[in-house]
């Protein structure tokens, strides 16, 4: 073993010891509380907790190759599993065994798992046997048998006696053991976050430091330039003025020389400072990041029980293995990984692993296997592989689902190869599950998985073979790092575009833009690609205004950024590309969980906050923006945006909210305070759609809908009922009276409402 490995092992053992101490502390505290006979609910909770603790301890012991500890943990865990299932009940004797086991584990920990004497070894064997034995007892066996009366089991008794005596011998030695105390303080993770923020601010300062230094260098170069120019500069002056001229010339030259020297000195010392500052910042940030690295186990510890629960629910048998739990990953990445991983696991359980009889028919063992592996890839990447030995992904079903949901056209589907078809599962709306179950099949899951992974600068891929199994591979950086982005300007706004998505930045003649079927396009690399205006796509200005402004500003030169995501390539027109720089992306806070087109924000050296654009969204948006521009031109009518909507709602808040949402989406909105008011207004003005609450004074939403349907003039207007009522009867009543859609307030979200309205108008 070389030195590095030794060091590593030492470090990891130390980590293990700290972790194990914590597990043991919780275990013995739990045991003490259990002995006091807490209420049943609390007892169950404690048992569950302790079960998990001992399980984690076992896993951790295994990962650092502490076989002795693992061997004691194993029956310990089985015992708790039995307690959980209520196969056995707690008895004073059981407490005794458990306490002894914890004792032994504590001692093992303080000796680094090394067993010194045969006597000790015997004690271990005994405790393992006792634990095993105790786990196998049925409740009736232990019932009524109070310790020490277990004469029915002479074998065990004998062993206990042996171990008691042995224990006495050992405990004499035990006095000399150093208690396993480590110099560690526990700090709540929440306290660490501001620390990281601060060091990231430092990084920000470092970046602006670099920029300032470059500016200074620029000034320096210019001063040198002036000096050179000045020395060449000579004019013919009359002899009389020559002396004054020469003197002045010399004076100016001296001034410039002095300034040049001063600037050189300044630049030199700032460069030195910068070097020191950079080193300090990097070290500091490195340390802080190290602090924020958590073992993968903190993420996955709840997974096994979840898998167990779901597989029981679905009558499936699943073996779930996790490896590589000791790898350390930035806490924020772990947090963002939780949902995607849970989703993938649920998918495997739901779609992948078949029921035992299905599996047996395919000559597979009745119980399926799901493996979750975490592997280090180099020093800064981690690979996560989630594999199952299930049915595999049925490419035909995927294709059908994709065509059904309109992700691709039937013609396009013909030409796809196998890999391309499989990658379709990451598109939103594709779900192969024929029944929407509560665990998966909504057709959104995998698209969210790939989106989350992409946001973490990672990649997700899938390998599958029919009836053999499926494996998802996620490759991720272990720390959140800065990335390069280009700073662009459109109108008054500045944005960052991640450089990874930028194919090229170019300036070209506006004449290069060709309109094909009402879509702007541009040739790029001998291909014709769609082009959109960034400001229009982001909705910063009304389509149309731009062209006039542009033609007046500069008809020749335009600035274009060619962006890519997946297979799509789209050109975006911007007003200016300012520079390329290192950026540190930050999330937008808990309130803005998902903003379209934007993945986060960064702080410039000047302190300005600039949004970082999310290119996959941008490309999707550019397509719908194109449609918005082209449709009115083609049809020659007013755009759909100006559709008029009447909102009937008696609550002021809800009314204001609905109005706000709809107006933001570009509709003209009028409001009515109840059904009667709404009906009057609807008869007086023409509306394209009515959104109504159900529960309102004077005339409720059902009555209003019925009245509208029976009115000759109004009968065709779509009606959307938004309601707090949730019963099936109400929903049916709503449909019966003629409502076109029925949205329950509890599940209300604006995209849902807007989508329904878009469909109806």
């Amino acid at each position: 073993m070389n030195k590095m490995d030794e060091d590593f092992l030492k470090r990891i053992r130390e980590t293990f010891r700290i972790e194990a101490e914590e597990h043991l502390r919780i275990l013995s505290a739990g045991l003490t509380e259990l002995e006091k006979k807490p209420p049943e609910k609390r007892a169950a909770e404690l048992i569950e907790n302790m079960y998990r603790e001992v399980h984690s301890l076992k896993g951790a012991a295994r990962s650092v190759d502490q076989k002795e500890i693992e061997s004691v943990c194993h029956p310990f865990e089985s015992l708790f599993a039995a307690l959980k299932r209520k196969d056995i009940v707690l008895s004073p004797r059981l407490f005794d065994i458990l306490l002894k086991a914890i004792d032994i584990l504590t001692r093992l920990l303080s000796t680094d798992g090394i067993v010194k004497t045969p006597a000790e070894r015997q004690i271990h064997k005994d405790i393992i046997n006792q634990l095993k034995k105790a786990a196998e007892e049925s409740p009736s066996d232990t019932h009524g048998k109070e310790y020490p009366d277990f004469s029915g089991e002479p074998q065990t008794e004998e062993k206990v006696i042996v171990s008691e005596t042995e224990k006495n011998k050992v405990s004499g030695v035990a006095e000399s053991y150093e208690p396993a105390m480590a110099k560690v303080v526990r700090i709540p993770v929440s306290r660490l976050d501001p620390l990281l923020l601060q060091s990231e601010e430092l990084l920000q300062t470092k970046i602006s430091f670099d920029q300032r230094l470059n500016e200074l260098k620029d000034v320096n170069v210019r001063v040198t330039g002036f000096k050179a120019q000045l020395s060449k500069y000579s004019i013919d002056v009359p002899e009389t003025a020559k002396m004054i001229h020469d003197e002045y010339h010399e004076f100016a030259g001296n001034c410039l020389s002095e300034m040049e020297n001063r600037l050189n000195e300044l630049q030199h010392s700032i460069e030195k400072d910068q070097y020191t500052f950079n080193r300090l910042t990097n070290d500091h940030l490195g340390e802080v990041k190290q602090i924020l690295m958590l073992p993968v186990s903190s993420l996955v510890e709840s997974f096994p029980s979840m898998v167990r629960d779901i597989s029981h629910e679905h009558n499936k048998e699943v073996k779930f293995n996790i490896t590589g739990m000791e790898l350390e990953v930035d806490k924020r990445i772990l947090e963002d990984l939780k949902d995607p991983l849970l989703h993938l696991i649920r998918n495997s359980l739901d779609h992948g692993i078949g029921k035992p009889h299905e599996r047996t028919e395919q000559n597979k063992p009745p119980s399926g296997t799901i493996n979750l592996e975490f592997k280090a890839r180099g020093s800064d990447m981690i690979e996560i592989v989630l594999s199952d030995d299930g049915k595999g992904i049925d490419t035909e079903n995927v294709l059908k689902a994709a065509v059904r949901s309109g992700v691709i056209s039937a013609e396009a589907a013909e030409n796809l190869n196998r890999d391309e078809i499989i990658s379709l599962i990451f598109k939103s709306g594709v779900s192969t599950s024929s029944v929407i179950t509560d665990i998966s099949g909504r057709g959104l899951g995998l698209s969210i998985v790939s989106e989350k992974v992409e946001k973490l600068n990672g990649k997700v891929s899938v390998r599958t073979e029919k009836s053999k199994g499926t494996s998802f591979h996620i490759l991720l950086p272990v720390t959140l790092a800065t990335f390069r982005g280009i700073l662009v300007k459109t109108g008054e706004y500045m944005f960052i575009l991640p450089s990874v998505n930028v194919v090229r930045v170019l300036r070209t003649e506006s004449g290069e833009i060709k309109t094909v079927e009402n879509h702007d396009t541009i040739s790029f690399d001998k291909k014709v690609i769609p082009m959109a205006d960034l400001g229009n796509v982001l909705g910063l200005q009304e389509p149309g205004n731009k062209t006039t402004e542009l033609s007046s500003k500069s008809s020749d030169q335009i600035c274009i950024v060619v962006l890519t995501s997946g297979d799509d390539v789209v050109a975006f027109r911007v007003d200016d590309v300012l520079d390329e720089r290192q950026v540190l992306v930050k999330n937008l806070g808990k309130l803005l969980t998902r903003v379209k087109n934007i993945s986060g924000a960064t702080v410039l050296g000047s302190g300005n906050v600039v949004p970082v654009l999310y290119v996959p969204d941008l490309i999707k948006s550019s397509i719908s923006a194109q449609e918005k521009v082209s449709r009115p031109v083609a049809a020659g009518i007013t755009p759909e945006k100006s559709a008029k909507i009447l909102v009937a709602e008696d609550s002021v808040t809800a009314r204001a909210l609905l109005k706000n949402i709809l107006e933001t989406a570009g509709y003209q909105v009028s409001t009515a305070i109840d059904g009667t008011d709404a009906f009057t207004k609807a008869r007086m003005e023409g509306f394209d759609l009515i959104v109504s609450d159900v529960d309102m004074p004077r005339m409720n939403g059902f009555e209003l809908t019925a009245k509208i349907r029976n009115d000759r003039k109004l009968s065709e207007i779509p009606v959307v009922l938004v309601t707090a009522l949730e019963s099936r009867e109400d929903r049916e009543l709503g449909i019966e009276v003629g409502a076109d859609a029925y949205i329950v307030k509890r599940s209300f979200d604006q995209t849902n409402l807007l989508e329904i309205i878009r469909r109806l108008i």
Partner: protein, 172 residues
């Protein structure tokens, strides 16, 4: 001093001298008092992380108008909500006195815009009367009630936990 001014001061002194109607010995909360669209509001300091001056903010494209934008608070990006827009209150314009009150609970954190901060005031919880009608455009859902001095007490918990404020938009 002008007579009118003296009269006003005397009047105020008389008002101030009046002893509270019922001497409540109940629990008292500290409330931050601020002005918004011409009304005086109070919010329990338990929900307030800090008050931050609004110097500069960045608008985000494509979000509802009640999201004023995002600000940088010592390295942390925080969204700022304009309650005037959210509740449809009359617009009084952005003055120089704009402050951001950063609301926070373990699950949520964002700033709300205030026209001006008046200060802190202890208010006994049972002095907060539920108002029969919502005085302003703010629905009773978001109000705890009215405290003496016509201070409208906002329900910090409700506002922080309101799912309607959360922006979660997918591009379809």
């Amino acid at each position: 001093m002008k007579k009118e001014i003296i009269a006003v001061l005397k009047n105020r002194a008389r008002e101030m001298a009046r002893e509270p109607e019922e001497q409540t010995s109940s629990a008292t909360g500290d409330f931050l008092i601020f002005a918004l669209a011409g009304e005086i509001y109070g919010i329990d300091v338990a929900f307030i992380r800090e008050v931050y001056p609004l110097r500069d903010f960045t608008q985000l494209p494509g979000v509802p108008s009640f999201i004023l934008g995002i600000i940088n608070v010592r390295g942390q990006i925080l969204p700022v909500v304009d309650l005037k827009k959210f509740f449809n209150l009359p617009e009084k314009g952005l003055g120089e006195l704009n402050k951001v009150i950063i609301l926070h609970n373990p699950a949520m954190e964002f700033g709300i815009l205030a026209d001006n901060i008046t200060g802190m005031q202890p208010v006994p919880f049972d002095a907060i009367r539920t108002s029969p009608v919502s005085v302003t455009g703010i629905g009773s859902d978001y109000l705890k009630g009215i405290a003496p001095g016509n201070v409208i007490i906002l329900d910090g918990e409700k506002i922080l936990n309101d799912k309607k404020i959360i922006i979660h938009e997918e591009v379809t």
